[in-house]
């Protein structure tokens, strides 16, 4: 007797569900194994007094987001095009926007 389509489908979905559940397992296992590295990095942040993660190294205002002064996010003209793709990905830090309001 040949296998029914529906049984093949249900089997596949079960496999997918297992993989899906496995994602969460994998994530939590990886997190645990990454914990020492995370702690080391946290220590480094403290000793080197780091204020930003190293994500966009194109320019200083993309590299040090939290340290960026008021001038740089609006460097050229507010309507001018971005120099770098990262400008389209990230917004000016909230404390800068608030700074404008406070003044």
């Amino acid at each position: 007797m040949s296998i029914r389509k529906v049984d093949v489908f249900l089997l596949s979905i079960s496999v997918a569900l297992c993989l899906f559940a496995f994602i969460f397992v994998h994530a939590s296992l990886t997190k645990k194994s990454e914990l020492p590295a995370l702690r080391e990095n946290s220590k480094m942040v403290r000793t080197l007094e780091i204020t930003d993660i190293c994500l966009f190294t194109e320019a200083r205002y993309t590299r040090h987001l939290s340290m960026a002064d008021l001038h740089t996010p609006f460097q050229d003209h507010p309507m001018s095009l971005e120099h770098f793709p990262s400008g389209a990905l990230i917004t000016p830090p909230p404390h800068l926007r608030q700074y404008v309001q406070d003044r």
Partner: protein
């Protein structure tokens, strides 16, 4: 038992129906999966970066004080240190030295930093893995730095920082204070900014206010603001993320619209036949439901699983060109998988539900026709 069998039967027929238009439905699944893949990838990546950044930056300095002139970041003189030290609640103030170094040959930007304690002394540098890669320099190599006045300062690499720390150290060049001042030209008595330590963390905003009043041209930045910066990074309000999300939404609307604008005459005829041979309205609707569910569930699982592999096992490789942009130095780091089941559920409700509904709704009318009409087809 019979309820399950009933649905197994209907599902079996739904699969037969889908397989009848094999090419169209396979194309549909591929499109749908790609959509979910992109959406899930972006969500996984941004969430993971955010969480990791916020966890790490919880250890960042409590308060940084910057001096501004005409809106721009300016060097801060050491007499400001004494002014701040005299404020009640301040434990210590340290002048920090850091800046950028642009290397024209490789067109890369490095961050020069003078740490509080640099054990290697003058003439040496400790570099991040990314710097090491870009310069193709390792321990013991000499690296020339072009100083502000055109002369060259050669420093020896004493240490290369770990690969695991790339997310924070990739572009760092740690050096001694005299070397920094020689390269940057920052005069003695001036610092990039100040690191302020307070006795009671709760008093930070109050002290920040006092500093602003005593030194009006300064800008204190608190740790919670630093963390907040990264909580809102990749915010959906920002540019490309918004574009991607909107495109995904539009794509879904188009998919669902195609389904919702009614059935073909062929489909109507088939529903008529089903009703004629004894299927109830509800049975027909279950059929349509399963047809929609098969496509959307398959795409959902495939899309999310592939997205997870893409982001956490393949380092978000397909989006690398977007993130890398014009930068030469791009950190190689494996993100810690922080996935939020709530977000996955949101993806599910935004994608599977509308598509399944879009498959059932247009069939409603056809499903309620009198079986009698099949006699006249």
């Amino acid at each position: 038992m019979s309820r399950i069998d009933k649905h197994r039967n209907i599902l079996d027929f739904a699969l037969s129906s889908l397989l009848r238009r094999k090419r169209k439905n396979i194309a549909l699944v591929i499109m749908y999966t790609s959509l979910i893949f992109i959406l899930a990838s972006v969500i996984f990546f941004t969430e993971a970066i955010k969480r990791e950044a916020c966890i790490l930056l919880e250890n960042s300095p409590e308060m940084i004080v910057q001096k501004t002139m005409a809106g721009r970041h300016d060097l801060i003189p050491d007499n400001y240190i004494r002014s701040i030290e005299s404020i009640r609640g301040v434990q210590s103030v340290r002048g920090r030295l850091w800046g950028y170094y642009y290397e024209p040959t490789r067109r890369a930007n490095y961050t020069l930093t003078v740490p509080e304690h640099f054990s290697y002394g003058t003439g040496y540098i400790a570099i991040g893995k990314g710097v090491s890669r870009t310069l193709e320099a390792g321990k013991g190599d000499l690296v020339p730095f072009r100083a502000y006045n055109g002369s060259y300062v050669s420093l020896e690499v004493a240490d290369v920082m770990t690969a695991e720390s790339e997310i924070i150290s990739s572009d760092l060049v740690l050096l001694s204070e005299p070397d920094f001042r020689e390269i940057s030209g920052a005069p003695g008595g001036f610092f990039t900014d100040l690191g302020v330590r307070v006795r009671n963390a709760k008093e930070l905003p109050v002290i920040a206010d006092k500093i602003r009043r005593v030194l009006p041209d300064t800008r204190p930045i608190l740790k919670n603001e630093i963390v907040k910066t990264y909580e809102t990074i990749f915010d959906w309000r920002g540019g490309i993320v918004m574009v991607i999300l909107m495109s995904a939404v539009f794509a879904f609307v188009i998919l669902a619209w195609d389904k919702a604008t009614g059935l073909s005459s062929e489909e109507k005829r088939e529903i008529g036949i089903l009703k004629g041979i004894g299927w109830e309205t509800s049975d027909v609707l279950w059929l349509k439901f399963w047809e929609g569910a098969v496509v959307s569930l398959t795409s959902f699982f495939l899309g999310v699983i592939l997205a997870y592999v893409h982001v956490f096992l393949a380092s978000f490789i397909l989006f690398e060109p977007v993130l890398k942009g014009w930068s030469v130095l791009y950190p190689e780091f494996r993100l810690v998988p922080f996935i939020d089941p709530f977000q996955i559920m949101t993806i599910f409700f935004l994608t599977v539900l509308p598509y399944t509904a879009a498959t059932i709704v247009p069939s409603w009318r056809a499903a309620t026709i009198d079986p009698d009409s099949v006699m006249r087809l």
